[in-house]
Subunit: 238 residues, 2 copies
Amino acid sequence: MFDPAGIRALTFDVFGTVVDWRGSVIREGAEWARDYGVEVDWAAFADAWRMLYQPMMSKVRGGELPWTRLDDLHRMALDRILPDFGLDGLNPDAVQRINTVWHRLDPWPDAVAGLTRLKQRYVVAPLSNGHVALIVNMAKRAGLPWDVVLGAEPARAYKPDPTVYLTAADMLGLATNEILMVAAHNSDLAAARALGLHTCFVRRATEWGPGQTIDLEAEPGVDLAVETIEELADRLSC
Amino acid sequence: MFDPAGIRALTFDVFGTVVDWRGSVIREGAEWARDYGVEVDWAAFADAWRMLYQPMMSKVRGGELPWTRLDDLHRMALDRILPDFGLDGLNPDAVQRINTVWHRLDPWPDAVAGLTRLKQRYVVAPLSNGHVALIVNMAKRAGLPWDVVLGAEPARAYKPDPTVYLTAADMLGLATNEILMVAAHNSDLAAARALGLHTCFVRRATEWGPGQTIDLEAEPGVDLAVETIEELADRLSC
């Protein structure tokens, strides 16, 4: 039985767990369509872009690339998919605007309220592969009340590299078992759990749209499984 | 004439500028006196401890010590002064409690209100020689509404090493002239200004007690000079 009394900090995956990257790209895509006179299936565009996320980070994890921030990995992936969507004629300002959409993702409806409640009792921090500027810009726009920004950039490594989780614990001055890692992705939670962090699965059944087939259920071993971050606040009596 | 329109983020020195380290050590010293049955001039104790702050950081700046967090530098300095105050008989838990008083410093009366107003328009971040855990613990206790924690630890260097200011700008994705450095210490502002940051002096005329002789006035070259962080919010129309 999980006892939350020993928890001091909650660390959150961000893309998919706290913010709706797919819906946000689709929504902003409608503005790009209008401003640049292009017709694009923005859902397919969002999915194609996101499908290159892990392969791009793998280049850093495997040493093919040195430490590289996510804006630059996003841009490499974007440059690769633009021709597939007939967007290779866009001017550089337009491409730059599209590339930074990840700084402007909208939170899931429960995220701000849930985090605000949890922040009253716990340190709440992103533990994201997004870099500091991206996470700060997103938080300022969306009202996400982080106490401190942890994750890939301070560790100069990408999840699920253990360095990312261990650097966060070290910077907080906490043992790993004083931290609850919150994510919508079982692979992220498994990596955290292997290092001694407690884990909470949040179900985001439409992160990949209505046809999503992965991460619909928590895998065995998580301490908590919830539908929303507000439910997590309920469960922790915040 | 300083135009604040180009400013995106405000970075703050913390010890002395945002929090009253001397008054806080004196106040908590009264608890130690009661709990440990000791009689100490806590003002002299606070001053003696703080006087070793720059010499300890100089060991890291000069390469005599590798990167070392402030908790550990504080402890080296504390171990040195304890005998001078007849406190060398304290047990390890008591010494550890005293050493972490820097995590529990009280803000100046204007700090929380001023930062809360400034946060509405700007990224507000500590740019302190305090490490992340210390700054986070202090902020949670005092209600300091930081957006992100920057400073010595992410840069693995101590102010006024240029690396600290430049790492903060780099992590925020900003040019140095988009940042306003706020401090009660002219030396900190001079180091920031040399790198292109804008600067604001906050007068903390009793940081070192009623007999303070340094940093009573802003030196030439600062963009703004204010009495409080609330006045800074007024000046920036927040």
